[in-house]
Symmetry: C2
Subunit: 343 residues, 2 copies
Amino acid sequence: MPELRKDPISGRWVIISTERSKRPDAFVPEAQPSPADYGDSCPYDEGREYMTRPEIMALRRKGTGKDGPGWWVRVVPNNVPVLQIEGDLGRTGVGMFDMMNGIGAHELIIETPKHGEVLPDMEETQIERILWACRDRIVDLYRDKRIKYVLIFKNSGINPETTFFHSIIQIVATPILPKQIKEEMAGAKTYYDFKERCLYCDIMRQELADGDRVIDENNSFLLFAPYASRSPFEANIFPKQHASSYTSITKDEVTDLAVILKRFLRKIRAGLKDPPYNLMLHTRPAFVGQRQEGATIEMDYHWHVEVVPKLTKLAGFEWGSGCYINPTSPEEGAKFLRDFKDY
Amino acid sequence: MPELRKDPISGRWVIISTERSKRPDAFVPEAQPSPADYGDSCPYDEGREYMTRPEIMALRRKGTGKDGPGWWVRVVPNNVPVLQIEGDLGRTGVGMFDMMNGIGAHELIIETPKHGEVLPDMEETQIERILWACRDRIVDLYRDKRIKYVLIFKNSGINPETTFFHSIIQIVATPILPKQIKEEMAGAKTYYDFKERCLYCDIMRQELADGDRVIDENNSFLLFAPYASRSPFEANIFPKQHASSYTSITKDEVTDLAVILKRFLRKIRAGLKDPPYNLMLHTRPAFVGQRQEGATIEMDYHWHVEVVPKLTKLAGFEWGSGCYINPTSPEEGAKFLRDFKDY
């Protein structure tokens, strides 16, 4: 059983993932497998559905059956989950420390039945299906009262989940509110209490007025480099219509998000020589403790997507200070991507 | 002039480092230079003192002169600083955002005149000299009233500062209190307010009682794997004698720290196949706003050293949640290093 442990100094939770336990001698750097290595044995390919755990949901052609071929998007539990769905939280003290069982969920959204196909090459209708699957999983996972947060994220390139170079998105549902989300919520609440306006809506207005950090926009979304970007070419995608939860996304918004996301991923691939990237979806938690005063979470939180091309490495300064050094100004990065046409 | 920008949501500060500005086309991964590549032109070697900026301090043999040979440890300003010492803070609003000029200091402690020599191979007296230089730089930099924090850290291996594979420690002095330090101070204060005891002292007592996360100890220091370690083989070194500031370190403590640090670095080099590592020294800030109630910073903060071997990569989950996944339990990691004798 994985464990969640709380650091008594910072209050941050860490997942001690015994399921993926690595012995000390397992840390020798390994050769990266090339995409072709596993092309003939990938468990995420159409026709090898038996190699994954039974599917949780799938968007499939009519007449095709569960765990068989004929799907566009398929969601399965990760074979090596960082958190597991069965059991009780068992929150307890260990001497002066705090821990709980690693209860939660770890699912994979298999984005495509086609081995090797990546998001920037997919048809927009396919990206829309993926976006709808994200929504449905959040709705479903938040029905489990042990779940406090659902984080949807993507590590592009090769990682433990994509050893087979099959494009996937990951879902981790946690029984704790992650530090990053707590901080976003606190920042948004403080601002709302002071201004009686949504902080994210105000940032959007400011970015549209300034213009020099805007990378792209359409009817529903603004894509821009944040003023205090932590790393080069980091981008935020904010829905123009205020909403705290991704689950309230509309059909038009899904269409517009697929378009703007695909264009951005094509631009960084062509303009920055295909860097790996991380993508994170931040939506509101299922439940928020009742507040004594001020706005509700519906008013002060604003869902959004963050995309971070991996171009720099974090080192001792970032690790030791929590402060970041960014060698490219957001304005310069935004201008480069805004003007980049050959994607 | 570099800029410090504040993220309006999380409140974190980011250094936009124009001095090290990278153009978009500069992000193609480069081949790592091998240690031998620059052995005949390293600016940190004895005899090439003219290649660095004038030294800030040095520990040298009697009769040798500033910026000449004859030194054991030499401290110089970084040629490409992330923050610069000249100028005013110029704290200002930019629309709804907050920024200030990138005022501060970025210095390098050249650990040895010998090209290619690394900490685990140095004599303990040499490591002691380095530890004294760290202390003297903190004392001196805290005299500048614009400086709120001095972070001393080391990125082992090859990085922009050590392209030449000459072992160095970095010092970054910031006009803001870094997030990580703020959080440690807040955690320690909350605990003290509740228990009227130092949190760090209590953790040490708990670790000594449990024993299974202890890696090493001597008269002055305890070296252990934190209960909620973020990554495999992460280690904390706490001074057994309570003190908030590294600047109050004693002669005996310097001797003991050199011994325990060297032994740990030798163990991870031999036992984990020479991973790169980050080392961070956390000491109290120069000034702390007067508190209305509770303990003073001298009572509730406790300086310490953190060492993090770089064996895992941060990805979308960590970046998006602020929560960490650690595939090796601290108990298992500590046992491996505690029992490892062949170093």
